[in-house]
Structure formats: structure tokens, C-alpha cells
């Protein structure tokens, strides 16, 4: 074999991109998938990409899903790389989830409570049987809604808080940190930890949350409340002096209520684990609340032994854009390093012989 120094990287890349575009479009006998269809009919994918992409824009998330052929981590990556170029006009005021326009609200700790239980559009009690009627265009029966407006729905931890049975929610003294602007440093405060979890990979957070239920840092959780619905986003421009409503977000919030036996300085009371994410993402919000509580072990004087309680471990490995990039970089050429390892092994074998 005559060796010619490998050339043609440029052409290979162009050809690969052309092939990819063709592959993405699929067989042209089928009509092209519109972004609006993805936005409307693949809503949970859109929600996940918005959450992990850290950008609330349903249309852009749908576009990213289309461009990524439905690979949701790749789509979140596209969104992140776009998001980072956007200018920042303002910071919003904290959104008020107590005033959420509820579409779903369930509590696992009280049978009934002010505002009641609202199931909303959940898969929870569907039987997971493939619905073959979806193979064809199906007609959808109209969904009925209660004609009565919903009553105000106080948050369950607030109800417990009236009796002093749950730790008070401390208000932040300083502006919350922002991982997209400042590098992660330790000790990492809870605001930054929550941001990392909200952006983190759903599967990773789910696995960590699950591990706390199986003895790796258990915290005896109860799903105090899960709520999903629209909240208003308000900004307060300095020159105005009052806040203005700039739009709505759909959020899922989970408040876990955890047993706590008290310590030398704190009486027995319930503690909180908190989850809040863009869109309808209950699995993620619940997992996030479990892991948030697990990461508070040190603060609450509990032993720190399990992976979910190890803040450095959780925060450094929860971001799937970082993780996928670094895992997949192993396919880049490493022949220089491998060559030095080859020579090294040869030399070591010689000196061992």
C-alpha cells in the first residue's frame, strides 16, 4: 500500500453534511414535517428541549427538534448554542407560582385541600396499551372542562408553614447566581444548584433521584404538591419603577416534603426539596426535588455518603451538553497520544523482558 498523507477532510465534511440533510428529510413520498406540527403534537419533546436548552421558546425548540431529527440532546445543544448569543435586556422578577393558572395540581399528602386536586392532561391513569387507531388520522373527542372557575390554590408547603411544621423558606439576600455567565465554584449555593438541576439531563437527574429512594441517601420524601400551569413573567425596568407583564410561561413545580428528626440546633420539622422546570415535565421536576433535598444533607447535619448527596459529583455531571460533548470527543483522533502509549508499552515490555 502506497501511503499518501491523508487529505480531503474538507470534502469529506461537506459530503457528510449533504448526506445528513438528505437523511433528515427522509423519503420524499411523505410530506415534510412542519415545525408547527412538532410544536403542537410533540409537546413533551418541546418541553424537554426548552428545559435542558434553558430557553423558553416553543417554536425554536420545535425547529431544533426538526433539525436534530428528534435527537433531543442534540436539539437542546442547538438551543443552548443559539441562546448564548442573545443579548440580555432585563432580569425578570421572581415568578409567583402561588398565582399559577393551574392546569394540574395534585398533592399526595392531603386527600383534599383548598382548591382541590386537579388531574389535568396526565398519562398517569392511562393504560399503556398501544392505540392502533393512531396509525390513521384519528378524530379527537372534545375535552370537557369544569365550567366553574378554579378556586385559589395555596401551595401545600405554605399550608404546613402556617403551623410551623416545615422549615421556613428563606428569601435570597443576594441576586441569584447564573451558571451561564459565571463558572461553577464551590461551595455552590442552593440557587446555583437548583439552576444546574433545572438545566440538567432528565435521565441523569431521574437516576439520581431514584437512587435516593433505594438507600443511597434517602430523605423520606412525600410529594407535597405538584402543580403545572401558566405563570406571568414580569420585569421591572429601573426607569419605570413598577413592573410590567411581558408574557407567560408554562412551568411544572414540585414541592417534596421530607422527614427530618431535628438536630442540635433545629427542632424536628419537615424539610423541603424543590423542583421547578420549563414546560410540563413532571418526572424531571419530581426528580429534581429529590436530588435538591439530597444535596442539602451537609447543610442539615446528615451524613454525606451517597452520590446524590455529593454536590460536586452531581453538579459536574448533570449537564448533558457537557457530558455528550466530552464522551463523544473520544471519537476524535487520538493517534498522537495512542502512539506515545504504544511506544511506552513497547519500552516497558522490553525492560521487563
Amino acid at each position: 500500500m502506497a501511503y499518501v498523507a491523508v487529505k480531503g477532510g474538507e470534502k469529506a465534511i461537506d459530503n457528510a453534511h449533504a448526506w445528513l440533510a438528505r437523511e433528515r428529510r427522509g423519503d420524499t413520498v411523505h410530506p415534510v414535517l412542519s415545525v408547527a406540527q412538532i410544536e403542537e403534537q410533540l409537546g413533551r419533546s418541546v418541553d424537554r428541549v426548552m428545559a435542558e436548552g434553558s430557553l423558553y421558546d416553543r417554536e425554536l425548540a420545535a425547529l431544533a427538534i426538526k433539525q436534530a431529527q428528534g435527537d433531543l440532546i442534540e436539539a437542546a445543544f442547538l438551543i443552548r448554542a443559539y441562546r448564548t448569543t442573545l443579548p440580555r435586556f432585563a432580569h425578570s422578577r421572581p415568578v409567583e407560582t402561588a398565582a399559577m393558572r393551574i392546569e394540574r395540581r395534585v398533592s399526595a399528602v392531603f386527600k383534599d385541600l383548598p382548591g382541590g386536586q386537579v388531574l389535568g392532561p396526565t398519562y398517569d391513569y392511562t393504560h399503556r396499551l398501544l392505540d392502533f387507531s393512531l396509525l390513521d388520522d384519528e378524530a379527537v373527542a372534545p375535552a370537557t372542562r369544569s365550567p366553574h372557575p378554579l378556586e385559589p390554590m395555596p401551595r401545600v408547603p405554605d399550608i404546613l408553614g402556617q403551623e410551623g411544621l416545615i422549615e421556613p423558606d428563606t428569601s435570597a439576600e443576594q441576586e441569584p447566581g447564573d451558571l451561564t455567565r459565571e463558572p461553577l465554584t464551590f461551595p455552590a449555593d442552593r440557587d446555583v444548584r437548583l439552576q444546574a438541576l433545572a438545566r440538567g439531563d432528565e435521565g441523569f437527574i431521574l437516576g439520581l433521584g431514584y437512587s435516593t429512594q433505594r438507600g443511597y441517601g434517602g430523605s423520606h420524601p412525600f410529594a407535597g404538591e405538584i402543580r403545572m400551569g401558566e405563570v406571568s413573567v414580569e420585569i421591572e425596568p429601573a426607569e419605570l419603577g413598577f413592573s410590567i407583564d411581558i408574557g407567560d410561561l408554562v412551568l411544572t413545580e414540585c414541592q417534596m416534603v421530607n422527614q427530618f428528626k431535628g438536630s442540635k440546633t433545629v427542632p424536628p420539622q419537615f424539610t423541603r426539596g424543590y423542583g421547578l422546570i420549563f414546560g410540563f415535565g413532571e418526572r424531571k421536576a419530581m426528580s429534581m426535588a429529590l436530588v435538591d433535598r439530597a444535596m442539602r444533607a451537609g447543610e442539615l447535619g446528615e451524613d454525606v455518603t451517597a452520590p446524590a448527596q455529593n454536590i460536586e459529583f452531581v453538579l459536574y455531571h448533570s449537564d448533558n451538553i457537557e457530558a455528550t460533548g466530552f464522551v463523544e470527543h473520544l471519537k476524535l483522533p487520538h493517534y498522537v497520544d495512542f502512539q506515545s502509549e504504544l511506544q511506552n508499552v513497547r519500552r516497558m515490555r522490553e525492560s521487563a523482558a
Binding site: M1, Y3, A5, V6, K7, G8, G9, E10, A12, I13, F77, R80, A81, R83, T84, T85, P87, T180, R181, E182, P183, L184, T185, F186, P187, E312, Y316, I321, E322, T324, G325, F326, V327, E328, H329, L332, P333, H334, Y335, V336, D337, Q339, S340, E341, L342, Q343, N344, R347, M348, S351, A352
Partner: protein, 288 residues
């Protein structure tokens, strides 16, 4: 490029990175945390190097990008195109013509000059990470110059194998103060870092750290008096250009154990061949 600032990053971000670079230059070998941005290329593929390059690049710069020593590996092509597209700067494959050289895993064979900057892509800036996984701990160890753990590791290597078994990403002491990862360059390249006339900048995007070696700074590969640092290279001349002093790639040529050793630095090899040097497996360059 329409819709994007010169060299992709906005000016505020570049300023933030430059401040980090200045601090890094002032404290050679010290890892400076920076607000690494999400780039349109994946983490682990050079986002740190790209951000450093983007923040130092000017319109008159001439950029060279290499991966494994070569200008034409796919990732080097991709990054070079990225800057050609977003900054419109001139690019080159000739080491001598470049003002900024971004690299992954190699230092060019040709001695760099004072008017050049070399930017390394760094996957893992923490030299102690295999020995201590907590960054809180390693930060403390750097603060106290407490590098006993690394010396013990090297000592254990010698007692087990009779030699130090690290062949790339071989740890160095910078300016007799900070232990530093030279990035995964082969140990062969380590001596080039010592008293290099060019400014050396290191960017780790995923790990959000920047560090630097100013020109003419002492960089010493860790060793012991009775086990001095040794480089590793294949004991062959380059098959194409006959060079005996360059780092070599090993190419598998057939299924019967056939091997060809060629310069990893493609520009170095091409330049030598153009000057008439021929290796045992090479052929005379056709006259142009």
C-alpha cells in the same frame, strides 16, 4: 458573518475572557475560572481553545489550526472553517506564517517565535484529577503547593515498572510554582514548552478554566534526580521525509504487521519534502 459578532463571541464576553487571560499570564500555570460560553461546537472538541482564540483574534491575524499535528484532520478543518466564516481571517497551514496557532495534542516541530501565540485545547485542566477527584481539594493543594500526591504517583510508577509510565499529558511545574497539565500532548513535546519565545495560552471550555505560560518561562517536566525525564518517540526516521527529530505517527499499512512511521506535523514534513528530503518510503516530490 451576518447576525454574529466578529469571531462569534460578543465583545463583552471577549473582554471577560481577556481579563481571565491577563490574570493567567500574571500567575503562570495557575488555573483561572472563567464564564465559559456555550459554543456551536461540542464540549470536548475545542470549545475552550476556540473561546481563547476568538477573544485574541484581530482582523489582521493569520490563523493555523492543527489536530494531532495535522492541518487536515476533520476537527482542525472544522475549527479553521469556523473562524474563516465568523471572523473572515486569513488561514494558513504554514507554521512560520501563522500569528495564532490553535492546537490539539501537539506543538509544531518548528520553533515558535515571540510574535506568535499558541492556543492549546485542554480537555482536563486539573493535573491532579486522577489522584483527587474533588476540585475543592485540588484547589487547596495548588494553593499550598502541596504536590506530594503526584510525586508519590511517579515514585510508585518507578517501583512497579522501573520507569515513569506517563507518556502524554505529562505533568509539568511552571515557573517553579504551579503544577500544570500541558494538555494531552506527547511527553515528546514537553521540552518545547520550556523557555518558549511564544505566548502559550490554554483553554478548557467544559471545565471553565484558562491558564497560560508567558514567553521565556521555566517549564519543567516532573522527575527525580536518579530517574530523569525521558521523552518517548518511535525509534525510526520519518518514512516520507527522513526526519529523525520529529514526532512520528504510526500507520498500519497491511494485515501482516507492516508499519510506516511518518511525521505527525504535516507542515513540517511537507516543508522538508519540498526541500528535497526523501525518506525510505517516500518519493521525490514532482517539480512544480
Amino acid at each position: 458573518m451576518k447576525g454574529y459578532n466578529f469571531a462569534y463571541l460578543d465583545e463583552q464576553t471577549k473582554r471577560m475572557i481577556r481579563r481571565g487571560l491577563l490574570k493567567a499570564v500574571a500567575i503562570p500555570g495557575h488555573q483561572v475560572p472563567f464564564g465559559s460560553r456555550e459554543m456551536p461546537l461540542p464540549y470536548g472538541w475545542g470549545t475552550g481553545g476556540i473561546q481563547v482564540t476568538a477573544s485574541i483574534l484581530g482582523a489582521n491575524d493569520v490563523l493555523k489550526v492543527i489536530d494531532q499535528g495535522a492541518d487536515d484532520t476533520t476537527n482542525a478543518v472544522s475549527i479553521r472553517r469556523f473562524f474563516a466564516r465568523t471572523a473572515g481571517v486569513a488561514t494558513t497551514t504554514a507554521t512560520a506564517e501563522a500569528t495564532v496557532i490553535q492546537t490539539r495534542h501537539r506543538i509544531p516541530e518548528k520553533q515558535l517565535r515571540e510574535d506568535q501565540i499558541i492556543v492549546y485545547q485542554v480537555p482536563q485542566p486539573e493535573p491532579l484529577f486522577r489522584l483527587e477527584s474533588s476540585r475543592v481539594e485540588t484547589k487547596r493543594m495548588h494553593g499550598l503547593s502541596d504536590y506530594g500526591l503526584m510525586h508519590v504517583k511517579l515514585y510508585e510508577d518507578i517501583s512497579r515498572f522501573g520507569q515513569i509510565s506517563i507518556s502524554y499529558d505529562y505533568p509539568v511545574m511552571v515557573n517553579e510554582r504551579y503544577l500544570m497539565s500541558p494538555s494531552p500532548i506527547p511527553a515528546f513535546d514537553n521540552p518545547k514548552m520550556d523557555m518558549m519565545p511564544a505566548l502559550q495560552l490554554f483553554g478548557a471550555g467544559r471545565e471553565k478554566r484558562i491558564y497560560a505560560i508567558p514567553p521565556w518561562t521555566r517549564v519543567k517536566s516532573l522527575d527525580f534526580e536518579d530517574h530523569p525525564f525521558r521523552t518517548i518517540n518511535a525509534p525510526h526516521p520519518c518514512g516520507l521525509c527522513g526526519a529523525t527529530d520529529s514526532y512520528l505517527d504510526e500507520v498500519v499499512t497491511d494485515n501482516h504487521g507492516g508499519r510506516l512511521f511518518v511525521c505527525s506535523d504535516t507542515d513540517h514534513c511537507a516543508e522538508r519534502r519540498a526541500a528535497g528530503h526523501v525518506g525510505t518510503d517516500g518519493f521525490q516530490e514532482a517539480a512544480e
